[in-house]
């Protein structure tokens, strides 16, 4: 269980998050939706220790705030950021293996490869290729694959569908469901409202750094007023 309590974050004194509280139960897919600039990416970065946050972030009973980003990742809370942030000149295989670098001691550290290839068979065909030569969809698959190699307990995805063709979006979201079914909790940020809510259990609607609505994903999806008011749809 991930629990945020009054989390605030600012860029040079300008607040981007105003006291966010939310919960992500184990084994759930929780979606965070909202218009551009609402603070969705900032929220994920605050949890991941990539931007300084005030307030309380707790995962499995442990405080995450105050930890540097690399320690948060080692606690099993792993972010696939917007822009993917692959290592562009390294091969697909090297990008994947690096995901397991922090567990160098474990003999079976490469075991998640099996799941990664199962989810994204195309990666297996491209192992020797440089990451920068992959298509946008394949890069997203690699970014998720690299994150899976760390053996996350909570996977945070920042707009995995960004810049992808509709059919690929469905593939990625189907993969997200399968990842959850393998026991990984998912916190999903999306601008594509309908698709995100269709796979999520719970949803939070963010507007200018505040949670303005939350509840079961189905209820939020049914609420047409919500769409007009907060999501511009």
């Amino acid at each position: 269980m991930l629990r945020l309590d009054g989390v605030t974050a600012a860029y040079r004194g300008l607040k981007a998050l105003h006291g966010i509280s939310l919960e992500v139960p184990d084994g759930a897919i929780v979606a965070v939706v909202g218009a551009n600039g609402a603070g969705k990416s900032t929220l994920l970065k605050a949890i991941a220790g990539q931007v300084r946050a005030e307030g309380r972030v707790e995962f499995a009973g442990q405080r995450l705030d105050l930890l540097p980003g690399w320690r948060v990742a080692r606690q099993g809370v792993v972010l696939v950021p917007e822009g993917r942030r692959l290592f562009p000149r390294l091969s697909v295989a090297d990008n994947l293996r690096l995901g397991a670098y922090a567990r160098r001691g474990d003999k079976d550290r490469f075991a998640p490869l099996e799941l990664v290839y199962d989810l994204f068979p195309r990666l297996r065909e491209r192992l020797a290729q440089r990451a920068e030569t992959l298509s946008g969809g394949e890069q997203q698959m690699l970014a998720i694959g690299r994150a899976l190699m760390t053996r996350p307990r909570l996977l945070m995805l920042d707009e995995p569908s960004q810049g992808l063709m509709p059919r690929l979006v469905d593939d990625i979201l189907a993969a997200v469901v399968r990842i959850r079914d393998r026991g990984v909790t998912v916190l999903l940020v999306e601008q594509r409202l309908a698709e995100a809510l269709s796979i999520a259990d719970h949803a939070y609607v963010l507007q200018t750094g505040r949670v303005v609505l939350s509840g079961p994903a189905a209820e939020i999806a049914a609420n047409a007023e919500v769409r007009r008011a907060y999501l511009g749809g």
């Binding site: 540097p68 690399w70 990742a73 792993v78 942030r85 692959l86 562009p88 690096l98 160098r104």
Partner: protein, 291 residues
Amino acid sequence: MTATLILQVVLLGLLTGLVYALVAAGLSLIFGLMDVVNFAHGQFLMLAMYAAFLLHAATGAGVLLELPVVVVLLFVLGAAVYRGMIARALSVSTNRGMVQIFVTFGLGIFLTGAAQFAFGGDFRSITGGLLADRSLVLGGLHLPLSQVAAAVVCLIAFAVLLLISRTEFGRALEATREDRDAVALIGINRDHIFALGWGLGSATVGVAGVMLAQFYYVSPNVGADFALIAYVTVALGGFGSLLGALLAGLLIGEVEALTALLLEPSLKQVGMFAIYLAVLMFRPRGLFGRL
């Protein structure tokens, strides 16, 4: 000018060039990893040479003892300098580039002064031992054994660096160099990688220092000339490129040797700087650089 003389000069240039190349490789490794130029690199070389000299004087055990001890010492020095100074310099919020330059520049001046204080200004050199005053004679060629040994050890050091680059740690170095902010996403502490990178780059110059001390005098200022050559070599080879450092070091060794032969020994650096200027003008990413 006989053919033997020319061949002799070419071979000596090659042997010297390999030492230049390894000195440059240490500098290039750190620069490539984090875009920080270590302006105390020459002083690291000087410290390694003093360490070899003192070990030799104290134990007489020779290069096989000096190498591992100095490599460890320089590794620790490099990692400590990163943790104690560079990491702090990187965390300042204004004028970071200047702060980095001044920090390592100041460290270099301090180390030179400290050596002056501790050892005086005298030129010293290793005397006696297995490598001293012997030559490898091939046909009419005389190659000092100490320089042959230095070249061989430098080549081995390059091979080791290449092997390290293929390990998991080498991959993490490469990833950190590609995107230093992204490695935290997969649980890698970039400060740790940077410290190890500084240790590795310093240990590399430590190997060169030990071997250089076998045939070259040691003094508090000895690092300055070699550092200058190393900066030129790194610029020629392309910043951060291991193979580039090797090829550029060899090139500079040759150019220097042939300039000394054809012009005059005191002008031996003229050819090197001429090439440097030409490369800066026509191919600023370096002869072998990929940037």
